[in-house]
Amino acid sequence: MAARVLVLASILIFSCFAETCYGVISFSSLQRTLVVTASHRQGLLKAGEDKITVRWGLNQSFPAGTDSSYKTIKVQLCYAPISQVDRAWRKTEDHLNKDKTCQFKIVKKPYTNVNETLEWTIERDVPTATFFIRAYALDSDDHEVAYGQNTDAEKKTNLFEIQAITGRHVSLDIASVCFSAFSVVSLMGFFFMEKRKARKSQQ
């Protein structure tokens, strides 16, 4: 009986360790081998309208063959620390499975050995916040093996701000006001009719 409990316990413990070997990749274990730059017009960028030109490629100062396991490149729009304050749903975690820093995918395509450029129109569901761009290199199992970003390690330089669309339309505004007015007016109408009925029944 005790032996069975021991076996069960050790299986449980080992499976925890196995998880760290297989599933959970930590950001701090990745090498920064990619160079990423982003260029855009001056000032506040507008979602749905403005474009960002993203360039990425392997940092040539690394030895040849560093990118032998890179199969796919995933470029993402990521929140800068200032936009993560008091917002736990954007928190940075070392375990990439739990990390919520980068929530918008710019592009995901097969990795090529040359420097690539992409002109990306900012999608209309991007919120108002401060961002930077990060690229992950993925291996054939779709696991992250390396990264690059257009800002420094503290995520303080080269940040840019995006202004979201409001989502409001004039027709919505008008409909809201009209329906609200209708509710209040109809209530007054009912009261008026009740008073008239009560006065009639008293006569």
């Binding site: 304050v85 008091d86 917002r87 736990a88 749903w89 739990k98 209309r124 569901d125 919120p127 108002t128 916040a129 979201a164 669309i165 409001t166 989502g167 409001r168 339309h169 919505l172 505004d173 409909a175 809201s176 006001v177 329906f179 609200s180 007015a181 209708f182 509710s183 209040v184 109809s186 209530l187 009912f190 009261f191 009740e194 009560a198 029944s201 008293q202």
Partner: protein, 508 residues
């Protein structure tokens, strides 16, 4: 089914009702699948309108992952809006109680619903954290329809079934808090699939609860009536109902200590329910990395349990009363609510998705049954100031929600799991005051009825009327109620001789 307001109506021509009634023409039976006027029709109107108010008030939480990005909200902004959504109703519920006593539940509830509908329409055009907070604040006022629903049920249904009627009406109304977690994400995806962008789709989605709310108010005005015998205004004009004085009604309500105790304890069953409605979708979405849709379904199951759990509380209250009288109602309330607190503590501790869902459902059953049990006791606390007591208790529910969200769920001080556990501890502590409730004619949890003089139901309910008012005959309705409430003695009622002028239940 209205009788003409003639001052000469005699008891020899009793009006015909579809259900069995007592001497006040309140129904002594409850037929869920009937909509016969006036009793069951009032029931269906009140639960549907209350349901729509719940849908509107909690329409924002399931869509928060979208709204928080559109309006650039922080966790503090979200917490503040959550507090605001339940704080408006604190005073609105007390005001509503008084309005029901004075103007009748039909006009009081329909007015409130139509006056808060604009807040729901304006949610579609909110553009900042402040405007979001304001629309949630004003929309929350509509939760005061709870008081009118309970008042209406207590006016239409008699002692043996009042707990059941109150429990089902309120439970099916509270269902709105769960249904909205399913409805809103669904409506949102439909609109988005038609082609709208995310930040527009959620805005359009808000028109659905707003329209539903408006239409339910129209239904109340067209099809409802205040009392089995007619509407307040007509009955007052014909002399069949005396118009009461606001100051006296209010005074007798707030000076009854039982109202204050129930207000506190209701804050820790219903208040907790409101809090969970506000935080649970985001909790599952963020903690377990679920899709918006999935988090909504899980969150919905909390509120959806109301379809049976709150009514079960009401039914349990009535069953306990049949056997043990008011003392049974009080014991059941304390036990069920304390167990709810225990399961809340456990919910904050479990870490796996499946365990969380299971514990959450068990917790919801107990907490909602406690709400149903509370309103098995409320109709007996006062007859003259029924509305004020209902309003105080209901308002207390919202105070509990405000306090709980302020202490445990604002900003980033406690993680949501810790907040949930601490909330459970607070439930257990704030349920203890039920020990202090005592009715001289029926007893309390630990003491039997007063034996100094034989305390009667008449003594208790007529103490709300001065001898001058009794001289004018204003207390007749309370007298009838006192007689009908003798069933709260439990099995003992069969050993008492009834007074000779008691009218037996009127049969059709």
């Amino acid at each position: 089914m209205e009788i003409e307001g003639q001052a000469t109506v005699k008891e020899s021509q009793p009006p015909k009702f579809a259900l069995l009634v007592d001497s006040e023409h309140k129904a002594t039976e409850f037929h869920l699948f009937s909509s016969a006027a006036p009793h069951m029709r009032a029931f269906h109107l009140s639960w549907i309108s209350f349901f729509s108010c719940f849908v509107s008030t909690f329409a924002a939480p399931p869509l928060l992952p979208i709204i928080r990005d559109n309006l650039n909200l922080t966790a503090t902004d979200i917490g503040n809006a959550g507090v605001a959504s339940v704080s408006g109703a604190v005073f609105a519920r007390i005001a509503m109680g008084t309005a029901c006593d004075l103007f009748g539940p039909r006009l009081a509830s329909a007015s409130l619903i139509l006056l808060t509908a604009p807040a729901v329409y304006f949610t579609s055009i909110a553009s900042s954290p402040i405007s979001f907070l304001l629309v949630r604040f004003f929309t929350g006022f509509s939760l005061a329809t709870f008081v009118s629903a309970q008042f209406w049920m207590s006016s239409m249904f008699s002692g043996p079934v009042v707990g059941t009627a109150n429990g089902v009406a309120a439970g099916w109304g509270n269902l709105g808090g769960g249904a909205t977690q399913l409805i809103m994400p669904l409506v949102f995806s439909l609109i988005r699939d038609i082609g709208a962008v995310k930040f527009t789709a959620w805005r359009v989605a808000f028109f659905i609860p707003a329209l539903f709310q408006t239409l339910s108010a129209f239904a109340i005005l067209i099809f409802g009536q205040d009392l089995p015998d007619g509407n307040y205004q007509r009955l007052q004009n014909s002399g069949n109902k005396q118009k009461d004085k606001f100051s006296r009604v209010f005074y007798h309500g707030i000076t009854n200590y039982r109202g204050w105790i129930l207000a506190l304890t209701y804050g820790y069953c219903f208040g907790v329910e409101l809090t969970v409605d506000n935080i649970i979708a985001e909790y599952f979405y963020d903690r377990f990395n679920l899709k918006l849709h999935t988090a909504g379904i899980i969150a919905a199951s909390f509120g959806l349990a109301n379809i049976v759990s709150r009514p079960a509380g009401g039914v349990l209250s009535d069953m306990m009363a049949k056997r043990f009288g008011m003392r049974g109602r009080l014991w059941a309330l304390w036990a069920v609510q304390t167990l709810g607190g225990v399961f809340c503590i456990i919910l904050g501790q479990v870490g796996s998705l499946t365990a969380s869902i299971v514990v959450m459902i068990v917790f919801s059953v107990f907490v909602q049954a406690a709400c149903g049990l509370t309103f098995g006791v409320v109709p007996f606390v006062s007859r003259r100031s029924l509305g004020v007591i209902s309003g105080m208790t209901g308002g207390g529910g919202n105070v509990g929600a405000v306090l709980t969200q302020l202490i445990f769920f604002k900003g980033s001080k406690y993680s949501k799991e810790t907040g949930i556990t601490l909330m459970g501890v607070m439930i257990v502590c704030c349920t203890l005051p039920i020990f202090l409730i005592y009715f001289p004619q029926w007893g309390g949890m630990f003491c039997g009825p007063s034996s100094e003089k034989i305390a009667t139901e008449e003594d208790y309910y007529l103490s709300e009327w001065s001898s001058k008012e009794q001289g004018k005959g204003l207390h007749q309705a309370s007298l009838k109620f006192a007689d009908n409430s003798r069933s709260e003695r439990g099995r003992r009622v069969h050993s008492q001789t009834l007074p000779s002028n008691a009218t037996p239940s009127a049969n059709v």
